[in-house]
C-alpha cells in the first residue's frame, strides 16, 4: 500500500541525507520526496511517498522519530489530506498541433508558460492522477522534457 508520510524536521545541514538514508537502509523505496521550509524557517517539511504495509509504516515512523532532528512524523491518508503535485512538461509543438495542445491545457486547467517555435512548456498543478492524465494525452505530440516535484500534502482543515 502506498503511504504519504509527512516528516517535520529541524532545518539543518545533513537532515535530508539522514532521512533518505534511513529509508534505503531499512529497505523502503521512496517513490517521491519533496522538501521545503515551513512557516517557521528553522523547520522543514518533507513529504514522502513510499510503499509498505501497516507494519512497515509503523516501523519506519518509529525509526524516523529516532533521528535526533525529527520533530514529528505522520501518515496522511487520502481521505484527510489535500494533495498537489506540480509538473513542467515541454512538449514538441508546431503550427498544426498548437491549437490542439492549447485545448488540452485548457481542459486540464493547466497553463502554458513558455512557447518557442518547436515547443511549448506547460505547467500542470493538481493531484497525481491529473498530472498523469495530461502527460498521457500530450505524449503523442512528443514530450521533449518533463519534471515533477513529487507530491506535497497537508492535512485538511478541521481534520486535526
Amino acid at each position: 500500500m502506498r503511504h504519504t508520510i509527512s516528516v517535520i524536521v529541524e532545518n539543518k545541514p545533513g537532515v535530508l541525507s539522514r532521512v533518505s538514508g534511513l529509508f534505503a537502509r531499512r529497505g523502503f523505496n521512496i517513490e517521491s520526496l519533496a522538501v521545503g521550509v515551513t512557516e517557521d524557517p528553522n523547520i522543514s517539511r518533507m513529504t514522502i511517498v513510499a510503499e509498505g504495509d501497516e507494519r512497515d509504516l509503523e516501523q519506519i515512523t518509529k525509526q524516523l522519530y529516532k533521528l535526533i532532528d525529527t520533530i514529528k512524523v505522520f501518515d496522511l491518508p487520502k481521505e484527510i489530506a489535500v494533495e498537489r503535485e506540480l509538473a513542467l512538461i515541454k512538449v514538441a509543438a508546431n503550427e498544426k498541433n498548437r491549437a490542439e495542445i492549447t485545448q488540452i491545457v485548457d481542459i486540464f486547467r493547466a497553463r502554458i508558460i513558455d512557447v518557442a517555435e518547436d515547443s511549448m512548456t506547460i505547467e500542470m498543478t493538481g493531484e497525481e492522477g491529473k498530472v498523469e492524465g495530461i502527460e498521457k494525452l500530450l505524449r503523442k505530440f512528443g514530450i521533449k522534457e518533463m519534471v515533477r516535484t513529487g507530491k506535497i500534502a497537508l492535512q485538511r482543515g478541521g481534520a486535526e
Binding site: 529541524e10 545541514p13 538514508g21 516501523q59 535526533i68
Partner: protein
C-alpha cells in the same frame, strides 16, 4: 574568557566530567594535542591504532557506566574508528568519538586526509555533528554528551575542522540542553504497567528475558526484586549477563543459539515472557515464528522503535527500564508462586546441564578454573568473539552488572584486548581478564603496548586451538567439514610476541598446569600477562541451535 576552539573543547570535556580519553594524534588535530600539552586535567591515553581507541572508550563506558571518549585525526584516523563506533552503536554504549577534519575552506575538495566521517558514520551512530564555527562548539559538545548518554544510549560523532580548533571564542558552557526534537520518554505508561501486573498475576509459566537495556539503565536491583517477589525465572541475553546474579536459583543463564538448554526450553514453554531492555535479536530467537509460541509478551524498552520491530508485543511499555520495573514491582503481588513451573525448570536444569567431556586440556576447563579462583573477587571478564566468547558466557557466572564485557550485536573480533584496557582504566581495582581466541587476539595485538606502557595488569587468556574455532565449528556441522581458510596452524609464537611487547607470558599445554598458571597470572600486578592455553583443537560449543531453527531444537553434543 577567550579560548581557542581546542582549549574550549578541553574545557567542555572537563565540564562533562571526562577524566580520560583514548586517542591518536595526526595533522589536523595538532592544535588540540598542543592544547593538551598545557592543559593536563584530562588524561590522554595514547593507543597504537584508532580502532583500539574506540574499543577502549567502549570498554571504559561498559565497565563504569560513564561516557567513553575517543579521539582521532581526519581521514584514515577517523575511518579507523568506524568499527568501534558501529560496535558501540549495536550495543547501545554511550560514547563520544571526536574526529579532526580538514579546515573548512578545504572541505569537499578531496583534500589530503579528508574523509566525510559524518556521512560514513550516519548509519552506525546515534547522531553526529560537523562543527563549522568555533562558536557552535560548546553547544554541540553539550548536546552530543546529552544525546550519547540519555534515552537509549549510543555513540555520537563530533567532527571538528582544523580552523575550528584554532578559531577564538569567548567561552561559556551552556548549562542546559534543549533539543525540541529529542525528548526520550522515560516513564512507562501507568495503564500499560497495570496491564503488565495483571498479566503477571495471571501467568502460570512466566519467564523474564533480560537484555543489555537493564545494565545501561542500572536496573539490576529492580530485576532481582521483581524476579524474587513473583518467583519468576530469569534468562539473559549476551548483553544482559550480570543484570541478574548467575548463581541465583532463579537464573537460567543465557538463552538463544548457544544458550543453556533449560533456558531455551523454559522460554519455549512459557506462557508469559517479560522482555526487559532486550530486542529479540536473531541469535536469541532462532526461528522467530516459533519463539515463545504460547507466551503473551510484555516488552519493556526505552526505545519505541524496538517495540514491534521483530515480534509483536501484547503489552508494550516504553520507558526507562529502571523506572518501569520500580512501578511494576509496586503493582504486583507475591500471591502466585508458580511452584510447579519452577520445579519443572529445575528438572530441566538437572537433566540438561551445561557440560563438556573432560579429557585433555579443554577451553571450558580453563574458564571454570578461573571462576573457581576468582568468584569472590571483583572481576571483569572481557572477551573476543567466537567460541571463546560463548564458553565465557557458559562457564563463568556473573553476579554483578558490568562484570561482563563483550561485543554482542556487531560481533567484533579484536574488541577484547582494547576493551580490557579501557575497563582496567575505569576500574583499576578489578581483575580484568580477556578470554581470547588465537584468531581474535591478533586483530588488535598492538594494544599490548598501551597496556604495558600504562602498567595495566590485564590478563589475556588465549584459548588457542589453532583455528578460527567458531567458523570451523560451522564448517564441521553445516559445511561437511570443509575447513576452508580457518586453520591458523601458522600462528606466530604468541608468548614471544607478548614478551616482546613487555608483557609477562607463558604457554600451558597440560591440564594439570592450568590452575598454577592462572594463579601465577593473578600475582602479576604491574604489567599485562598473556597465557597461551593450547586447548583441544576441534572442541565445539554446545548447545547449538543451527541458524533458522526454533531454539528448543538444539544440538546438545
Amino acid at each position: 574568557m577567550e579560548l581557542t576552539g581546542a582549549q574550549a573543547l578541553l574545557e567542555c570535556l572537563h565540564k562533562e566530567g571526562v577524566e580520560i580519553i583514548f586517542g591518536y594524534p595526526g595533522g589536523v588535530v595538532l592544535p588540540l594535542y598542543d592544547a593538551m600539552y598545557v592543559d593536563k586535567r584530562i588524561k590522554h591515553i595514547l593507543v597504537r591504532h584508532e580502532q583500539g581507541a574506540a574499543h577502549a572508550a567502549d570498554g571504559y563506558a561498559r565497565a563504569t557506566g560513564k561516557v567513553g571518549v575517543c579521539l582521532a585525526t581526519s581521514g584514515p584516523g577517523a575511518t579507523n574508528l568506524t568499527t568501534g563506533i558501529a560496535n558501540a552503536h549495536m550495543d547501545s554504549i554511550p560514547m563520544i568519538a571526536i574526529t579532526g577534519q580538514v579546515a573548512t575552506p578545504l572541505l569537499g575538495r578531496d583534500s589530503f586526509q579528508e574523509a566525510d566521517i559524518t556521512g560514513i558514520t550516519l548509519p552506525i551512530s546515534k547522531h553526529s555533528f560537523l562543527v563549522k564555527r568555533t562558536e557552535d562548539l560548546p553547544r554541540m559538545v553539550k548536546e552530543a554528551f546529552y544525546i550519547a548518554r540519555s534515552g537509549r544510549p549510543g555513540p555520537v560523532v563530533i567532527d571538528i575542522p582544523k580552523d575550528v580548533f584554532t578559531g577564538k571564542i569567548k567561552f561559556s558552557y551552556p548549562e542546559k540542553v534543549d533539543i525540541p526534537s529529542y525528548k526520550p520518554n522515560l516513564m512507562g505508561h501507568p495503564k500499560q504497567i497495570a496491564l503488565a501486573a495483571k498479566a503477571i498475576a495471571a501467568a502460570r509459566k512466566p519467564v523474564m528475558y533480560v537484555g543489555g537495556g537493564a545494565i545501561s539503565a542500572n536496573a539490576a536491583a529492580e530485576v532481582k526484586q521483581l524476579a524474587e517477589k513473583c518467583n519468576i525465572p530469569v534468562t539473559m541475553t549476551l548483553m544482559g549477563l550480570g543484570a541478574f546474579p548467575g548463581t541465583h536459583e532463579l537464573s537460567l543463564g543465557m538463552l538463544g543459539m548457544h544458550g543453556a538448554a533449560y533456558a531455551n526450553y523454559a522460554v519455549t514453554d512459557s506462557d508469559l515472557l517479560i522482555a526487559v531492555g532486550a530486542r529479540f535479536d536473531d541469535r536469541v530467537t532462532g526461528h522467530i515464528a516459533k519463539f515463545a509460541p504460547n507466551a503473551k509478551i510484555i516488552h519493556i524498552d526505552v526505545d519505541p522503535a524496538e517495540i514491534g520491530k521483530n515480534v509483536r508485543a501484547d503489552i508494550p511499555i516504553v520507558g526507562d527500564v529502571k523506572n518501569v520495573l520500580k512501578a511494576l514491582i509496586e503493582k504486583v503481588g507475591p500471591k502466585e508462586k508458580h511452584a510447579d513451573w519452577v520445579a519443572q525448570i529445575n528438572e530441566w536444569k538437572k537433566k540438561y546441564p551445561l557440560s563438556y567431556k573432560k579429557e585433555g586440556l579443554k577451553p571450558q576447563f580453563v574458564i571454570e578454573q578461573f571462576y573457581e579462583l576468582t568468584k569472590d573477587k571483583e572481576v571483569i571478564i572481557v572477551t573476543e568473539v567466537g567460541q571463546n566468547q560463548m564458553w565465557s558466557t557458559q562457564f563463568y557466572k556473573y553476579d554483578q552488572p558490568r562484570s561482563w564485557i563483550s561485543s554482542g550485536g556487531l560481533g567484533t573480533m579484536g574488541f577484547g584486548l582494547p576493551a580490557a584496557n579501557g575497563a582496567q582504566f575505569g576500574r583499576p581495582d578489578a581483575i580484568v581478564a580477556d578470554f581470547a581466541g588465537d584468531g581474535s587476539i591478533q586483530m588488535n595485538i598492538q594494544e599490548l603496548t598501551t597496556a604495558v606502557n600504562n602498567k595495566l595488569p590485564i590478563k589475556i587468556y588465549v584459548l588457542d586451538n589453532c583455528f578460527l574455532g567458531m567458523v570451523r565449528q560451522w564448517q564441521e556441522l553445516i559445511y561437511e567439514r570443509h575447513y576452508s581458510h580457518t586453520n591458523l596452524c601458522n600462528n606466530p609464537d604468541l608468548v614471544k610476541i607478548a614478551e616482546a611487547y613487555g608483557a609477562a607470558a607463558k604457554r600451558v599445554e597440560k591440564v594439570e598446569d592450568v590452575k598454577a598458571a592462572l594463579e601465577w597470572s593473578l600475582t602479576i600486578t604491574d604489567r599485562p600477562v598473556l597465557i597461551d592455553f593450547m586447548v583441544a583443537k576441534e572442541e565445539n560449543v554446545f548447545p547449538f541451535v543451527p541458524p533458522g531453527q526454533p531454539i528448543n531444537e538444539m544440538l546438545l553434543d
